[in-house]
């Protein structure tokens, strides 16, 4: 009997480990952040009021969230972050799809080389790569010098410290995260399917939208999430490449925590950011599941 039960116990343990991990390193910290967001800032250590005051009364305030709603700066920053992340995601998709398609359709020896080239930038520190873009985008950087040398312009074009620089940085940094899942779903696709569609009267464009695109959809969704989510909270790229007025939510979060030491406000910023990310993802997944069921 015990011999028969043993594998079940092991199965339970293996299943429990990731749950335990999530509980300790995600759910618990989240609960702490949630608690801090409902506190008042004080000059003390830690710099927020405890959950229960001296009399043992529950002390909870929604002031921080109300402040986020009333101060236009936050709404503006959230919107701008969503917009920048969204634009970078779209551009990554537009650039990444043809690249992933090309890799998936190349000969197998060429394929591994091309994939290596996609992954190669990860061998260099993210910070260094973003830093290198400063050298490229500078007023007297490689790009401007080349343009001036070619006579395209006689004075430097201001790219560095603009939203455009952030946009370039985001797209560059997250492009591989778009290409890899797209490649995975395109590589699995049987080329005969596209030919069959053409054989049945679909032009190349129609065959793409009827066959390739729907079959690549899981890859498209995964790629978009992998780009959008980190781009939304990105701190390093706007900090290094953006100007003082190109304020994104990652930067705001950092400033509230470390510059203003307003932990409760920073926590509420973080929670709203999380909601902004989680709600569309849950919605999308449910929509996808429903669609899969309907088909």
């Amino acid at each position: 009997m015990s011999a028969a039960r043993e594998p079940v116990t092991w199965k339970r343990i293996t299943v429990a480990i990731p749950y335990l991990w999530l509980l300790v390193f995600f759910l618990l910290p989240f609960a702490i952040i949630l608690k801090i967001s409902l506190a008042d800032p004080i000059i003390a250590r830690p710099p927020f009021t405890p959950l229960f005051d001296d009399q043992g009364q529950l002390s909870v305030t929604f002031d921080n969230f109300l402040f986020l709603l009333t101060d236009k700066l936050y709404a503006y920053t959230y919107l701008k972050s969503v917009f920048m992340a969204f634009a970078a995601t779209v551009l990554c998709l537009l650039l990444g799809f043809p690249m992933a398609y090309g890799i998936a359709r190349s000969s197998s020896s060429m394929r591994s080389l091309l994939l290596l080239l996609i992954v190669l930038p990860f061998w260099i520190s993210f910070l260094l790569r973003v830093y290198a873009w400063m050298g490229l985008l500078n007023n007297y950087g490689v790009i401007n010098n080349t343009l001036m040398f070619l006579g395209v312009t006689d004075q430097p074009i201001q790219i560095m410290y603009t939203d455009l620089a952030i946009f370039i940085g985001l797209t560059y940094s997250y492009l591989p995260f778009m290409i890899l899942p797209l490649y995975a779903s395109l590589e699995r696709m049987d080329l005969d399917l596209v030919e069959a569609a053409q054989d049945l009267g679909a032009s190349r464009t129609q065959a793409f939208w009827d066959i390739t695109w729907p079959l690549a959809r899981p890859g498209v969704i995964a790629g978009c999430l992998l780009v959008f989510i980190p781009a939304m909270g990105e701190y390093v790229i706007p900090y290094l490449l953006g100007g003082p007025e190109s304020l994104l939510i990652g930067r705001v979060l950092f400033d509230e925590f470390f510059v203003n030491r307003d932990w409760p406000l920073a926590s509420s910023v973080a929670i709203v950011l999380l909601l902004l990310l989680v709600v569309p993802i849950v919605f999308m997944q449910r929509n996808d599941a429903r669609q899969a069921e309907a088909e």
Binding site: D190, D192, L193, E195, A196, A197, Q198, D199, L200, G201, A202, S203, Q206, D210, I211, P214, L215, E295
Partner: protein, 368 residues
């Protein structure tokens, strides 16, 4: 060639991939309503030829006409041709009905017309119970029917089939084979089948083209290909055959005689036109045309030689024998097991006679 026999007209078609010549200056006429097979080993160019008919490859040279229209440069989606892929290529994200109706939707037909034609074709291939299933809920045989229905629904002038039976198990193959022939008969569509399986080609086709290294070695009815192979490759590729090298020693009015080093007696064969004394030839005999007997056959016409049973294999409906001649040469013989008996007709190392009739001897001019 009359008009009937050149519904598909292939003239001087070649296809080069870099230095590699996949199809080498091929001419072919296929008649309306034929069930034509292109038979060959892998890499012989048969699939490339089929893909040129479908429009997925453009010929390097030459032209292809279907029903009097030159389609050499017409893209696949505008050709009156549909193809059943070897992989079936059933769209995984569409159910059976959507798959089958795809071609008509692309033609922009109205919904009523599409629905009624989808119904007809689904009935034809007996898929009614599965019409709203997704491909991953279908068996291999059912997926193949979807592919067939999808290709038939546009009523193409020509249906191309790439190894249609290769992925099916033996019982299903036999069943599907006859069903394909029935459908072809019913609809009168010209079928062009590509296969590496000679049995498939034999049973399905009205005519077969045997292909090797980008060229046709022989085009003819299954019987012609099997009984009158014109080259050693064709003889070997289609079925099993015993071949012996020899020299023509005598040319008579009706028959010729060939002496072979590997055989103890001279071999007689029916005379065909262009043969002369001293010519090097290859003679070939099918295993089922050879008789085994315990006594020397008493007719003086047969080619007969004493031998010993080297090995035998019982296959149920027939038995295969490897017979060893006095000089060690092995001859393969097959024999129908007409009589119900648990005893063996001959045993290992039995002394026997093997013989065949002169009309069974195939003579192939050497070098072919």
């Amino acid at each position: 060639m009359n008009d009937e026999s050149s519904f598909i007209r292939i003239r001087g078609v070649s296809k080069h991939f870099g230095d590699f010549v996949a199809v080498d200056d091929v001419d072919l006429d296929i008649g309306k309503g034929e069930l034509f097979s292109i038979l060959g080993g892998s890499g012989c160019g048969k699939t490339t030829l089929l893909r040129m008919l479908a429009g997925f490859e453009t010929p390097t040279n030459g032209s292809i006409e279907i029903d009097g229209t030159d389609i050499t440069a017409v893209p696949p989606y505008e050709r009156p041709v549909n193809m059943m892929f070897q992989s079936y290529a059933v769209f995984p994200h569409m159910d059976v009905e959507k798959n089958v109706g795809y071609g008509l939707r692309k033609d922009g037909l109205d919904k009523g017309e599409i629905d009624s034609r989808v119904d007809d074709v689904i009935r034809l291939v007996q898929l009614e119970p599965f019409r709203s299933r997704k491909p991953d809920q279908l068996s291999g045989g059912q997926r193949q029917r979807v592919a067939l229905a999808r290709a038939l629904i546009k009523r193409p002038k020509v249906l191309l089939l790439d190894e249609p039976l290769a992925a099916l198990d033996k019982k299903l193959r036999e069943h599907t084979q006859f069903e394909l022939m029935n459908i072809q008969d019913e609809l009168g569509i010209t079928f062009v089948v590509v296969t590496h399986d000679q049995e498939e080609a034999m049973t399905l086709s009205t005519r077969i083209a045997v292909m090797e290294k980008g060229r046709f070695l022989q085009v003819g009815t299954p019987k012609e290909i099997y009984e009158y192979p014109k080259s050693r490759f064709v003889a070997d590729f289609v079925g099993t055959i015993n071949t012996f090298e020899g020299t023509v020693s005598e040319v008579g009015a009706e028959s010729i005689t060939v002496t072979c080093e590997e055989l103890p007696v001279p071999v007689t064969a029916l005379r065909n036109e262009d043969i002369s004394t001293g010519q090097k030839v290859c003679i070939a005999v099918r295993p089922e045309k050879i008789f085994i007997s315990r006594e020397q056959p008493d007719d003086d016409e047969s080619i007969a030689m004493p031998a010993v049973v080297d090995d035998l294999g019982y296959l149920g409906n027939r038995s295969l024998y490897r017979i060893r001649l006095a000089n060690g040469q092995i001859v393969q013989v097959s024999r129908q097991n007409r009589r119900r008996s648990a005893r063996r007709f001959v045993e290992w190392e039995d002394a026997v006679w093997v013989s065949w009739r002169p009309r069974s001897t195939v003579v192939i001019a050497s070098g072919d």
